[in-house]
């Protein structure tokens, strides 16, 4: 992306914008009554009993909130870019924590038990989730390469099979595919366990999406590369392997990374087959003691951490290919 070399004044530092923003924020906080929340309690020395403070209380609370909000923005705007990003991340994270805190959770619940519940989640659930995702990603990638080549070929059978496949598996909800494979294949006489069915559904579904990504990546390489290769007497397979695919990898990596992340989270859908992965365990353990939210939140945090790791790996790979290109 091109970042312009002329720096405009920050809008936050223009009085008119600041005033407009303040009024908007005030209106927002006033519209959603915060008097009965923790903020109202903090301000009870001023407004008295929040329940009975009425219009005055509502106005004071929203006024104080909007002052805090706008001052916060103004202060951050003076920091350097990296520090800005860091502060905003921390603030948003604390807001999220506050949101979770408002559930009135019994967080200790996660750590009690022998072995502790969080250890169960990590040792068994996380392991199964990673195992299922990793195997599915490997298979999906293989399917995608074959599918993309088939879709680009002049072979009628190959094209028909590949396009039917991508149409079907992109057209059905993943959850439905999981059920169809798990319950449908035994009808044909193939007994299939839960984990292989889950892996099959995930690989087939994501293989279909990735087929399209790989096809677009291959097609984005200029025609001249094919012509030069053909003029040197290279055959199709050689051109694809040595000339086209290496050049399309930098184009394929970012969307493929997104697919990996999406698949990791969608692996939670195979919990419907009773596979002991993160989602299933969170539901199973939590519902036993009516501590659903604690366990779901634990699973949420583990998924989030996993995707952050994947994003970091993706950024690393992208950087590597950008240097070379």
């Amino acid at each position: 992306m091109f970042v312009d070399t002329v720096i405009e004044d920050k809008s936050l530092h223009k009085p008119a914008f600041l005033l407009g923003l303040s009024i908007t924020v005030l209106a927002f906080f006033f519209a959603f009554n915060f008097t009965n929340t923790i903020f109202g309690e903090f301000l009870s020395p001023v407004i008295g009993n929040p329940q009975e403070s009425g219009f005055f209380g509502r106005l004071v609370v929203s006024f104080v909130l909007s002052i805090i909000f706008v001052l916060n923005l103004l202060l951050i705007s003076f920091a350097r870019l990296k520090i800005q990003i860091f502060i905003v991340w921390i603030e948003l994270f604390f807001l999220f924590l506050a949101f979770a805190y408002s559930f009135d959770l019994e967080l200790a619940y996660i750590f009690i038990g022998e072995p502790s519940k969080i250890w169960l989640m990590i040792s068994k659930g996380l392991f199964t989730t990673i195992y299922i995702s990793a195997v599915s990603i490997a298979i999906a990638t293989a399917i995608a390469i074959v599918g993309a080549i088939a879709k680009l070929s002049n072979n009628g059978f190959a094209y028909a099979i590949a396009s039917f496949y991508t149409s079907l598996f992109r057209g059905l909800p993943l959850l439905l595919q999981i059920y169809l494979i798990y319950m449908g294949l035994p009808q044909l006489g193939f007994m299939i366990d839960a984990i292989p069915s889950g892996i099959a559904a995930l690989s087939l579904c994501y293989g279909a999406y990735m087929t399209e990504i790989f096809r677009a990546g291959i097609q984005s390489i200029p025609k001249g590369q094919w012509e030069a290769s053909r003029a040197l007497g290279f055959k199709f397979g050689l051109i694809l392997r040595k000339i086209i695919l290496p050049q399309s990898i930098p184009i394929i990596v970012p969307p493929t990374g997104n697919q990996f992340i999406a698949m990791l989270k969608d692996s939670s859908l195979v919990s419907v087959l009773g596979i002991w992965e993160l989602m299933f365990m969170a539901k199973k353990i939590g519902s036993k003691d009516f501590n659903n939210l604690e366990m779901l939140l634990t699973a949420a945090m583990i998924y989030w951490a996993l995707t952050i790791i994947l994003e970091m790996i993706q950024a690393r790979i992208e950087r590597k290919y950008q240097q070379k290109a």
């Binding site: 590369q225 053909r230 003029a231 007497g233 050689l238 000339i243 290109a325």
Partner: protein, 251 residues
Amino acid sequence: MNTKAKNENPVISLDGVSKWYGDFQALKDINLEINLKEKIVICGPSGSGKSTLIRCLNRLEAHQEGKIHVSGVELHETMKDVDIVRRDIGMVFQNFNLFPHLTVLENCMAGPNWVRGIDKKEAEKRAVAMLEQVKIPEQADKYPDQLSGGQQQRVAIARSLCMEPKVMLFDEPTSALDPEMVSEVLDTMVELANSGMTMICVTHEMGFARQVADRIIFMADGEIVEQNTPDEFFNNPKSDRTKTFLDQILI
């Protein structure tokens, strides 16, 4: 030079070749014979079918009527050994079409190593020799986009030469270059011509044509309007179209 022995078989021959893009006829009944060691320059206004013609010679384009023979092998739709024919015909493109993910040296080694079955050491030796011939051996370890246009085109020439082709096709090799880089590419081509390579060049560089061509072919609207030696072509053009073209290009 023009009294070349007529008895040897032409390396390339076209017999009544026509080609259409949909309804548009790009080549009209082309008849042409090119002998070994001959240097041909094809010129003509844009859209006249020059590029289409030479792209038919290694079957990057398909012709619909007539016959094209290269080294005695007929080029047609169901031929089995097109790759073998192509390996003997080098081609240099307007936009270079170097492989950007390979170094200059790897670009030059790819053909011999991958399809000629020459081992890496030998292929590298040959690549270095060809890069010396086009006078950029010092760029061997760079990637194409680190080179100037003129240097890239010379690498493209070296890449083709590494396959030890019998014929070299040039499709407007200097048209995409900045003016100051044209001469370095032309010098390389002149040297190649002097070494006895069979060359077919689509180009508007009339100085080059005068210097090396045995025959100049003038095309317009998909037809060969006129072909002659450079002297005759420039000093005594026969058709009006040729005269108009020369007036426009030689100001």
